[in-house]
Subunit: 137 residues, 6 copies
Amino acid sequence: MIHITRREHFNAAHKLHNANWSEEKNNEIFGKCSNPNWHGHNYLLYVTVKGNVNSDTGYSVNLKDLSLIIRKHITDKLDHKNLNLDVDFMKGIMPSTENVAIAIWKELLPHVNNLDCKLHCVKLFETENNYVEYFGE
Amino acid sequence: MIHITRREHFNAAHKLHNANWSEEKNNEIFGKCSNPNWHGHNYLLYVTVKGNVNSDTGYSVNLKDLSLIIRKHITDKLDHKNLNLDVDFMKGIMPSTENVAIAIWKELLPHVNNLDCKLHCVKLFETENNYVEYFGE
Amino acid sequence: MIHITRREHFNAAHKLHNANWSEEKNNEIFGKCSNPNWHGHNYLLYVTVKGNVNSDTGYSVNLKDLSLIIRKHITDKLDHKNLNLDVDFMKGIMPSTENVAIAIWKELLPHVNNLDCKLHCVKLFETENNYVEYFGE
Amino acid sequence: MIHITRREHFNAAHKLHNANWSEEKNNEIFGKCSNPNWHGHNYLLYVTVKGNVNSDTGYSVNLKDLSLIIRKHITDKLDHKNLNLDVDFMKGIMPSTENVAIAIWKELLPHVNNLDCKLHCVKLFETENNYVEYFGE
Amino acid sequence: MIHITRREHFNAAHKLHNANWSEEKNNEIFGKCSNPNWHGHNYLLYVTVKGNVNSDTGYSVNLKDLSLIIRKHITDKLDHKNLNLDVDFMKGIMPSTENVAIAIWKELLPHVNNLDCKLHCVKLFETENNYVEYFGE
Amino acid sequence: MIHITRREHFNAAHKLHNANWSEEKNNEIFGKCSNPNWHGHNYLLYVTVKGNVNSDTGYSVNLKDLSLIIRKHITDKLDHKNLNLDVDFMKGIMPSTENVAIAIWKELLPHVNNLDCKLHCVKLFETENNYVEYFGE
């Protein structure tokens, strides 16, 4: 059993704003992240899967396949997009780093399961100072 | 004479779109950078000044002073903002990396001149793969 | 349940020296780290906490709060200081990377507990080649 | 109990090629990694051990000792070498990142056991986008 | 006039060996870089061009165009290749970092000239500790 | 003519303090950098030389030779040392980043001149946010 990780990235706009709250409360909780005209980040996404090493290939998973899945189902949908407005699987979800990571996990899970390995971790950097890790539970 | 550089950063949204062009032409030239709902970046800003070393301090410039100027006049106005909509000194300017760097130079120049050193270079990373340098002419 | 990490940093002096040992033995064990006139590092500190995602905010913890706690209780006390001489919570403790990380854990724990999340890991880089991780036991 | 990690590196050539397969199948599975004339990488190796902190030294392990072991038994044998042809402990092993990490684990294990700590993880970066982690089982 | 830089990368094998010299002299000058079975690197390539900013686009050059040129004429020919054996424009050239950078400059020059900007610098990292810069003369 | 750069590093303690000034003025100018018990940094040093490419070697300079000179004359004297107290070529010099870079230039110059290339730049990072460059005049 070995863990293998692929890094991908996407550059996106978002804002953190709760429509049920006053502007005052939005500002108190979210600060400058609630700027109505959006802001954005260069997100770095690390997807870790685990599996056994195939004796013919030396691979636990073919990273070309894993990369294609991440690009098709995740980063092609997030890159140069607005996380609040443009992404089907983020509709109605506050685009905090936590929620983006969890949404990515849910989207990736069925596709990774087809690869003969198990999804282990989605790690998402919003900046070099902030990141989250989600392990599926 | 020595060159000294201070790194600061800001996270912002923008889009590249020319209102005089058709959507087709905007898409041809700017591609996904013209997404109407914006996208964003973690920008890294390197400001280089040059000056002589003061024999009492060993400093060419006090980086506390340089950092304060950059934050007050530049990054406080750009961080968690929309470069097309929110920034006084970017009004009417296409927020390409080139134009953002040139606008930063113009804003910084009078304040750096007050520091007894000369502004040498504004270097701006949009991503780890793309950056521009402006030397004032 | 999600893990979220905040990076902070501090620049400090220290030396590794056991007063119960001969200089010869100090030199054998600690080498150049025992230089009597000190040396120093740019330390990078990663604090990971875990918690559930709040449905109103999308946050497991508000990183502004976590950052303030780390700065007030840890990095403001360590930054531009001597780890052997200047830090109340390091008195009498050999400032190896291991011991600094453990001391940081102990200082942070009660404050993180007030944030409705659990302290998971203190990760401390002394250089880009050396780091420790402490999980509290 | 604390985890401590040492980073080392090596620059090596390799190719991924299964002699039991047709060229067509090698190309389908390994793509450009099967180039007959080799390619290469700057590998980054992170070795993590765990142990208790010694009260006299503040160390869980003396990183000088750990670094010497890694260099003598691993990176001196891999650096500026061909992983398919030049390395005694890689003979007959497909040099995928997974297999290189597992082989490094096996070589390091008896030597780390002599250090009064336990080998916890071998983490190997082939590029900044790809890495594996092996925990010994 | 502004400078703009695009980063690309390639992973390649090579060796440094002068066929006119004895093995002893090759080893004395090139050391482990002359290993007959090759070694390799993850090369990072920074191409800097300079030009005026177009008032319609805000661009000095469209980085999509620059990136396509670099990939088509340079990195597609170098990536996962052997620099001594596989590259048409490196035939008969010792693949030192210096010579690879100069060869890249010569290949890029006519194509960059077609982009309405001037090639300013080819910067090539062989490792994070070693890089060269070539300015065309 | 090509520029080639070698990166080395050293970890050192220092403080910025002018003995001719009151503590109040030292604190006003140098702030926490004047802590009497020192602080420290992981310094990164980039030494750039320029020269012509030798047709037998493909080298402008043999980086082994350049690295040995930097280590022998610079980093072996600075690493794990106190820049105010321990370094012969820093005696009586305020160890600001500017002054350390200039002192390194002066020490390196005669040794680089022996290598059949010219010293072009000493670039010294004190932190990832601050660096200086000295070109010898």
